[in-house]
Symmetry: C2
Subunit: 232 residues, 2 copies
């Protein structure tokens, strides 16, 4: 029977949507680079702990003197924007009204709103995507770095079951490592599975609750930013 | 700018897809009811622990003399089917090749394959959906019961952020309750948030690892099944 896998109309429409998204993303990327704004797209399942780790990340970046802003997507509520604002950063919430991923045009609108409120564009822009391991994969948001987060509570085999997201990421961050033993999660196996689908990707083990690994992850983020401007 | 929220072509196509899915689902439901097969659609985020609790659930149902089969959806790998087969049930894996939800036609195909291998249709059919809190919401799979699972590791506010899935479910199961304290999850708040978006829905607190609440959840499943046949 015909379904979303093999329906030619869906395949064609999807191709058109992605092509248009890619065009908007390319424009966004040009703008970000021109403004020296390092844009980071953070993807994960719902409940991985993105917001908690990002709040801690942004707090540290700001304390190091960086100007930071964030855009956060959720189907409903602005809970996450409220939490991220506690870091001191400017934050804009996109409520997607049930849409399961962010698109470049949503980010462009949210960024324009944020930017109008500020004299200078931020040096670092964190885009916290909707929690979704499939639909976020194909949408370029104009980012310079894509970060996939996975928590020890989700099971070691998630990279094998959702390879697309890990394949399209530049950095992997394992969250909630303080719970690894309680969840019977073997970090060596999880790392092996991540590298199985995405050989060589840098992996950081973190626990926002205890602070484990957070500095190393923040340093890596800054190194990636600095490497980008060294190139240009 | 136009995006998936407001693109009229997407809205129209989506409506058409869902209409067709509803037709296939209605056919499936008629078949299930005629066969006295109680079909259960289990939805959650990735990593909630559906497979582990379902393996334990199916093992108990089988030990009580019920014939049980399962259909399980994942973007890649047949890991979950292998795990569920340990319960002794007949299991068919749908590999969706990146599609983020199951559709009625996928279930129909998988059920036909399973059914051809068996003399009698199962009394209970568990459909373990792809891990996704948004896209699974709108697809009726012909089930008689929809169960939403949420783990204590995912945060208490998930029902508020993803109300659609909770609104369309008949039973809510909280998983990994043995980790509630370690995750700073207040079960009273989580229950309050579930009831906030779906007043009156029965909620079961479980931990597959310790066995907590599993019998109560299995009993509720059987009560729902028995109530259905008492009606017809």
């Amino acid at each position: 029977m015909t379904n979303a896998i093999n329906n030619p109309r869906i395949v064609e429409l999807r191709r058109g949507i992605l092509k248009k998204n890619d065009e908007v993303a390319a424009g966004l990327r040009t703008g970000f680079l021109a403004n020296k704004t390092f844009a980071v797209n953070v993807v994960s399942a719902p409940g991985t702990g993105k917001t908690r780790l990002l709040e801690e990340t942004m707090r540290r970046l700001i304390s190091h003197g960086w100007s930071v802003a964030a855009i956060v997507g959720d189907p409903e509520t602005d809970n996450d924007a409220q939490r991220l604002r506690r870091s001191g950063a400017a934050v804009n919430q996109i409520i997607t009204r049930g849409v399961c991923h962010l698109e470049a045009s949503m980010v462009a609108d949210a960024y324009a709103q944020l930017f109008l409120e500020r004299e200078l564009p931020p040096q670092i822009l964190i885009v916290e995507n909707v929690g979704n391991l499939v639909c976020t994969t194909s949408y370029d948001l104009g980012e310079s770095l894509r970060v996939v987060m996975i928590s020890v509570t989700e099971g070691e085999d998630k990279p094998l079951k959702y390879p697309g997201l890990f394949n399209s990421a530049d950095i992997a961050v394992i969250t909630k490592c303080d719970l690894a033993e309680a969840c019977d999660c073997d970090l060596v196996t999880m790392r092996g599975n991540i590298h199985g689908v995405r050989p060589g990707i840098p992996i950081f083990e973190t626990a926002a609750k205890t602070g484990r690994g957070v500095d190393a992850w923040v340093d890596a983020l800054l190194q990636q930013r600095n490497a980008l401007w060294a190139k240009s």
